[in-house]
């Protein structure tokens, strides 16, 4: 109480009434969350407008005689003829470590009931992407803990990898698994007092989703101890189109704070299809000319300027990274639709999820043929490169042979062996939700598969044997796991150790 009184006294002591000229405007019409304002002649694009009573707006259309602005909260209370003021400030959002573990709206206001966020740091929601000079090539891996991805479609820190697929194919699960794995790595590094490992902080942006879905993600992250390394920006289906439009930019601004301070951040945009729909709705209400599928002409620029803000900065510029995992929902597998093709062309690769694979029980339902990572392989560890190098080719051959084998039963021994090997690799790639593997365990699994360890195991038992093998290695040869994790390559000594442990396991089994 005393501090409040002291604050008031201090503010009063510092306050000197002064005459300053302000630019005002008058609301001429308001509807659908959009206000048309006369006046505000010198306002800038994306400048905040003060509607009074704590209501703010964003100037989005600067016309000859009026300004089109979206009202960011309580649009119902804005009246025709009301006076508004320009603030001279661009939209900003609170940032910093204090945001970790919090669920906020796109304006940075807490939604989790945990009280105000104690931070003075702020970042502009819209900001130009880092330039060419400050960037460097992606060089460090971002371990998702999902074997299929880390082996075949590796993601690097600073990369933009699209997750695309129909509804209910496990898109969000992949993103949440990736966040959980970052939290696991951060936690392990903290416990070991490891200062060389760069932690990855995550930002999960929910756009136009059901409140229940967002609550599910929050619970999953909390249960797996990942919430304290994550910021959740939520603009749910019940929020206005303007809030949904702002959400990914706010999430990026929060992620950029970590990047600017030399740290690594991961941003998940779930999903940009709904973001495009929200932007279309807002543009139509603002009476902007519409183009294909009624989307405005700058829909490509909307997503390209957002995703270009992900970067891997050079050491001279702090060395921070911002990795993006945008999600796109397709309709009946149509990747050639307008928004999917736009985002595919912007990103550095895509993870394509298929409904058919999902229903066959292959989860993650990743289609190896269409999925690609354009820059991530440069960031893969040597150990992973060595064991996963052939996997994509082997799987491609397996899918081809599998199709071929459907037409006849007389197959030569080599073809049968290829098919059997492919089936086992596919089985190994199946992974349960919220259960990411550490990199060293991924390497051991693939190394064992390459050595034919699973050759005599019935296909349906592959995962069971894998679990037993990993448990055996964890119990008997913890040093091997540690060596792979530290050296990140398969030295002759490690290979020898792996051979020994496999032989030991086989003898016991």
């Amino acid at each position: 109480m005393q501090s409040i009184v002291a604050d008031i006294e201090q503010t009063l002591a510092q306050f000197h009434p002064e005459a300053h000229s302000e630019e005002t405007g008058k609301v001429m019409e308001v509807g659908d969350g959009v206000a048309r304002i006369e006046g505000l002649r010198n306002i800038r694009l994306n400048e905040m407008i003060d509607f009074g009573n704590g209501i703010t707006g964003l100037a989005l259309n600067l016309e000859e005689n009026s300004v089109g602005a979206v009202v960011l909260s309580d649009a119902e209370t804005v009246r025709e003829g009301q006076t508004v003021r320009s603030t001279g400030r661009l939209l900003e959002i609170p940032c910093g470590r204090a945001m970790l573990g919090r669920v906020v709206d796109p304006l940075g206001r807490p939604l989790d009931g945990k009280g105000p966020i104690d931070t003075k740091e702020r970042n502009p929601v819209e900001r130009p992407a880092p330039g060419i000079i400050g960037r460097q090539s992606v060089s460090a891996p971002l371990q998702t803990g999902i074997l299929a991805i880390d082996a075949v479609i590796p993601i690097g820190r600073g990369q933009r990898e699209l997750i695309i697929g129909d509804r209910s194919t496990g898109k969000t699960t992949i993103a949440v698994d990736a966040i959980i794995n970052q939290a696991r790595l951060n936690r392990e590094a903290e416990l070991a007092g490891d200062t060389k490992t760069y932690p990855v902080f995550s930002v999960y942006v929910a756009i136009g989703q059901r409140q229940a879905s967002v609550a599910q993600v929050v619970n999953a992250l909390e249960e797996h101890g990942a919430l304290k390394y994550t910021v959740i920006v939520a603009a749910t289906a019940s929020d206005s189109a303007a809030m949904q439009y702002l959400a990914p930019f706010s999430g990026t601004a929060i992620g950029e704070w970590f990047m600017d301070h030399g740290m690594d951040a991961l941003v998940v945009y779930d999903d940009l299809s709904k973001h495009a729909v929200a932007y279309r709705q807002m543009s139509l209400v603002l009476r902007r000319p519409s183009g294909r599928e009624a989307y405005p002409g700058d829909i490509f620029y909307l997503h390209s300027r957002l995703l270009e803000r992900s970067a891997c900065m050079s050491k001279a510029h702090g060395g921070g990274t911002l990795t993006s995992l945008p999600i796109i929902e397709t309709q009946t597998g149509d990747v050639s639709a307008y928004i999917p093709t736009n985002v595919i062309s912007i990103t550095d690769g895509q993870i394509y999820l298929e409904s058919d694979l999902f229903h066959q029980g292959i989860r993650p339902a990743m289609s190896i043929g269409i999925s690609v990572s354009r820059v991530g392989s440069a960031a893969q560890t040597k150990a992973m490169k060595e064991v996963a190098g052939k996997v994509k080719l082997e799987l491609a051959q397996y899918y081809e042979m599998k199709e071929f084998a459907q037409f006849g039963s007389d197959l030569d021994a080599k073809t049968v062996a290829q098919i059997e090997h492919g089936r086992r690799i596919t089985e190994l790639f199946k992974q349960i939700q919220y259960n990411p593997f550490p990199m060293e365990e991924e390497v051991i699994q693939l190394w064992a598969a390459q050595q034919g360890f699973f050759g005599n195991t019935p296909v349906e038992k592959t995962r069971e044997v894998r679990a037993k093998l990993l448990e055996f290695v964890r119990m008997r040869r913890k040093d091997l796991l540690k060596d792979i994790a530290q050296q990140k390559k398969l030295t002759p000594e490690i290979k020898k150790g792996l051979e020994e442990v496999l032989a030991e396991y086989q003898n016991l089994a």
Binding site: D7, F15, A19, H20, S21, T24, E38, G39, L40, N65
Partner: protein, 133 residues
């Protein structure tokens, strides 16, 4: 009546033709309106409507208003009018109004440019500074 982009464009051209150094001239406006009215049809009417809208916006953006909590004396009004004497906006006259909500002080408005020295505004600024803390 639907006002198309073409109507808006024609109204803009008409506006440019009546303006001298960016300021509309009353005689030219009268002449322009008379000329357009000679053309019959909806198009001319639409262009005139757009033109009138522009004129209204211009007037609103240039009129001078003074708001005070209490009625100003004739001497005070004269003093304030003197500040704007010679300006184009002052020719249209200054609109003096009373609004008790401002509590005290003056608010001077030239179009949408506002210089607010009222007690109500100072309290508003004080409130926002306290809330920022």
């Amino acid at each position: 009546m639907k006002l198309t982009r073409q109507h808006q464009r024609n109204a803009r051209l008409l506006w440019q033709s009546v303006s001298v150094n960016g300021i509309p001239d009353a005689n030219r406006i009268r002449e322009a309106v008379q000329t357009v009215r000679q053309f019959e049809g909806r198009s001319a009417e639409a262009v005139l409507r757009c033109f009138v809208q522009r004129l209204e916006v211009y007037i609103r953006a240039n009129r001078i208003g003074v708001v005070s909590a209490d009625q100003l004396s004739a001497q005070q009004r004269e003093q304030l009018s003197g500040l704007f004497r010679g300006t184009e906006a002052a020719e249209a006259g200054i609109n003096f109004s009373v609004d008790p909500a401002v509590i005290g002080g003056l608010r001077v408005e030239k179009g949408y440019q506002v210089t607010d020295l009222t007690i109500a505004r100072q309290l508003e600024i004080l409130q926002s500074r306290l809330l920022e803390k």
